[in-house]
């Protein structure tokens, strides 16, 4: 959003900081860290924190990985709001995009032949990244992994596609906006529909907990991948010269 401001207008100009300011900032940082270290040394750590409590209730969470249990069940509300934070970024970037609702989301430039080696590599790489992302998502239930990791792998594959110069992404069609919002929408809907009978919001029924968490994570993966790709295309399209430089060959 601000890259034109930061990267273009300030490039080449030296930061006008006096050395006295620098020294003052350094001393302030030094004093702050010194004070914090002193405070840390002077105090005792309080027990194991919430780790023991989390471990004792893992069997009610529907997953085996404690990180996933905390992120998507015990403290799912925080994760829901974090996905909302990502959506803010998406809307802010969306406003910088060319607003052509009539174009389709992905446009293939058929005239652009590109590098045959790169095209061949991408054919393998994108498929591999998709499978890897699915694995990361699935493995999140019992080992490190999950929506954020899976989403960023897919986004990386799409960035490679974009850099090949054959594919262009447009974010104003309904389909694209659906991809950006589906993560938050599914999370809000699942959380809301949990509150039937005497259950509370975001209280998954025990027998379906694992399945619901997987559905939420799947939707979140899609949105995270879309938002990361939107960030990349937004930053790249902003700079016509960089778009040229980003293409390997024409």
């Amino acid at each position: 959003m601000f890259d034109r401001l930061v990267l273009h207008e300030t490039s080449g100009t030296k930061p006008a900081l006096k050395s006295s300011t620098k020294i003052a900032c350094g001393l302030a940082s030094f004093a702050l860290s010194g004070g914090l270290i002193a405070a840390l040394l002077l105090s005792e750590r309080a027990g194991p924190g919430l780790a023991a409590l989390t471990a004792s209730r893992m069997d009610e969470s529907g997953v085996e990985n404690p990180v996933t249990a905390v992120l998507l069940n015990f403290r799912s509300y925080d994760t829901l709001l974090e996905i909302a934070v990502l959506l803010i970024v998406a809307v802010a970037m969306l406003s910088m995009q060319p607003s052509a609702t009539n174009r389709s989301m992905v446009e293939v430039n058929h005239r652009h032949s590109g590098d045959p080696v790169l095209a061949g590599l991408l054919r393998w790489l994108v498929a591999l990244a998709t499978v890897l992302s699915g694995y990361l998502l699935w493995t999140g239930a019992y080992a490190p992994g999950g929506a954020f990791q899976a989403g960023s792998v897919i986004a990386g594959a799409c960035v490679a596609l974009k850099l090949s110069g054959r594919y262009h992404f447009f974010w104003h069609p309904l389909k694209a906006r659906l991809l950006l919002t589906i993560g938050l929408a599914v999370f809000v809907l699942v959380g809301g529909f949990c509150a039937t009978g005497d259950k509370r919001v975001l209280e998954y029924p025990l027998e379906y907990a694992g399945m619901l968490i997987l559905i939420i994570e799947l939707a979140a993966t899609v949105s995270i991948a879309a938002i990361l790709l939107l960030l990349f295309t937004g930053l790249q399209d902003d700079k016509p010269d960089a778009t040229q430089a980003g293409r390997p060959s024409t």
């Binding site: 709001l81 802010a92 919002t181 509370r200 975001l202």
Partner: protein, 498 residues
């Protein structure tokens, strides 16, 4: 005792989130406008419906909702007491009126399409901050509020607003990181993130004090307490009118509300009297400096923004006054009631003022104070709104601003801290100077050629500001209910309040 309405507590965050998603997907100006108005009305109805259960629930100290059914240390709770309820109510009322204004303000489809989703995400963040009972959850709420505000400030697309937004983003990021560092220290010390648990465990040890100072610095950056106010005037002065209104009325108050929670409740034992006096001194500096800068401002919107810096200073006088008041046991005590009253009065008056300035800007295409001669004849309604709001900001009777200042003066006198009285009276006098400077110009008769350069402002843009200004006056007639509401606080029973 959980009434059926208590189960609606998560809807305070759910409705705005749902509205944000829908507005982004619909992408049609008229439908999103109708949808947003409906959502705003629904939100207000919900908050009003929560008032009664809160009154019935005074023994429990407030309404608690356990998200996911896990309960506090493991899961996250929502908690609403009298203090939170006042802010929720002000938010709901302002959102409804400002939404009506925004429908008329954003005429172009393109800007409306970006505005509404961000607007609702900001509302979700505000409601989340006011209902939070978990210190990490507060951090996420701060991120929601901060990023949505930055995106809204940048909405204008002009270079000046982009620079302001970027500075705002960096300041907000620094504030959030300082806050997060404080949260990490607190988790290390107390092994929990729950507000209720930390409140009952907290002590005056080195780490708690360090955490409190980090959190305070972070939140003071976001509240624009002098000398950390440098980002506010360009950001609030460069944003579209409804955004400026919400930033000045609610966004800076959210971080102030959290400061109250930390100093008087969560980390009350670590809050030393000396540091509270220091906060008061910074507040007094803010009053004087803000008024001086407002007087020197060349643009009307910058003047109003600096007036926010000054008015925020009054709020910080709460801390030295509470520190001295050892008899304080609930939030209903004089100093806190006065500060909360001030907060509500300022929120109404300042948003009315920003809407009036937005109308003047729309009508003339500029807001240079020097060239605003004779606007009383051409824009009587907007100027009337500006004048009433200004009277409330100065603190003249019979407005809400007068009662608020009266209560603050009372608190200062009864605690024998007369020097704050002098600052408050001086601040009122200086506010009168910069408000009357504008009004004086507005009544100078103008030559004919200037009058032709004025566009018509639709009634839908003129009325919301007037309603807000009238509400600010009405607040002065009915002081009791607000103070009654404040006294419903969970902290009274646990005795953690200083």
């Amino acid at each position: 005792m959980m009434g059926p309405t208590v189960h609606l507590l998560p809807a305070l965050i759910g409705i705005p989130l749902f509205a944000a998603i829908s507005c982004l997907l619909i992408n049609n100006r008229k439908i999103t406008a109708c949808f947003s108005l409906a959502a705003a009305a629904l939100l207000l109805a919900l908050v009003v419906n929560l008032l009664e259960p809160l009154r019935l629930n005074t023994t429990a100290g407030g309404l608690t909702y356990q998200l996911g059914g896990w309960g506090a240390p493991l899961g996250i709770d929502l908690f609403v007491d009298g203090l939170a309820m006042i802010l929720l109510l002000v938010t709901a009322v302002l959102i409804l009126i400002l939404s009506i204004y925004s429908v008329f303000y954003f005429q172009s489809n393109e800007k409306a399409a970006r505005f509404w989703p961000l607007w609702w995400l900001l509302v979700a963040g505000l409601n989340c901050a006011f209902t939070a009972a978990d210190i990490f959850n507060i951090y996420v709420a701060l991120e929601l509020i901060g990023l949505a505000s930055v995106a809204l400030v940048a909405l204008d697309g002009s270079r000046a607003s982009q620079v302001a937004a970027l500075r705002y983003a960096l300041v907000g990021l620094l504030g959030s990181l300082l806050y997060l560092m404080g949260v990490a220290l607190l988790y290390r010390t107390y092994g929990t993130l729950s507000v209720v648990e930390i409140s009952s465990l907290s002590q005056a040890d080195a780490l708690s004090t360090a955490a409190l100072l980090l959190i305070t610095t972070g939140l003071a950056l976001k509240t624009a307490l002098v000398p950390l106010h440098f980002w506010l005037p360009p950001a609030h002065g460069g944003a579209p009118a409804p955004v400026s209104a919400i930033l000045s009325a609610l966004v800076v108050k959210a971080s102030f509300y959290l400061l109250i929670r930390y100093w008087l409740e969560i980390l009350a034992p670590a809050a030393a009297e000396l540091t509270m006096q220091l906060l008061g001194i910074l507040g007094a500096t803010a009053i004087i400096w803000g008024c001086l800068a407002a007087f020197r401002a060349r643009r009307l919107k910058i003047l109003v923004a600096y007036s926010t810096v000054a008015q925020l200073g009054y709020l910080f006088l709460l801390f030295p006054l509470v520190a001295a008041d050892n008899s304080a046991e609930t939030y209903g005590t004089t100093a806190i009631a006065a500060a909360m009253y001030f907060l509500v009065a300022h929120a109404l008056a300042k948003s009315a003022m920003f809407l009036a300035v937005g109308n003047i800007l729309t009508a003339y295409g500029h807001d240079e104070i020097r060239r605003l001669q004779g606007i009383a004849r051409q824009q009587p309604l907007s100027l009337f709104t500006f004048a009433i709001a200004g009277v409330s900001l100065i603190g003249l009777p019979p407005t809400g601003g007068f009662i608020a200042k009266w209560l603050l003066l009372n608190a200062a006198i009864s605690n024998a801290q007369w020097w704050w009285v002098a600052v408050m009276l001086l601040g009122g006098l200086m506010a009168a100077v910069y408000i009357f400077k504008v009004l004086n110009l507005a009544f100078i008769s103008t030559s004919l050629d200037q009058a032709t350069g004025c566009a018509q402002v639709p009634l839908g843009m003129a009325l919301p500001g007037l309603i807000l200004a009238v509400l600010a006056v009405c607040l002065g007639f009915n002081a009791e209910w607000l103070i009654d509401l404040l006294s419903i606080g969970g902290t009274a029973e646990t005795g953690t309040l200083k």
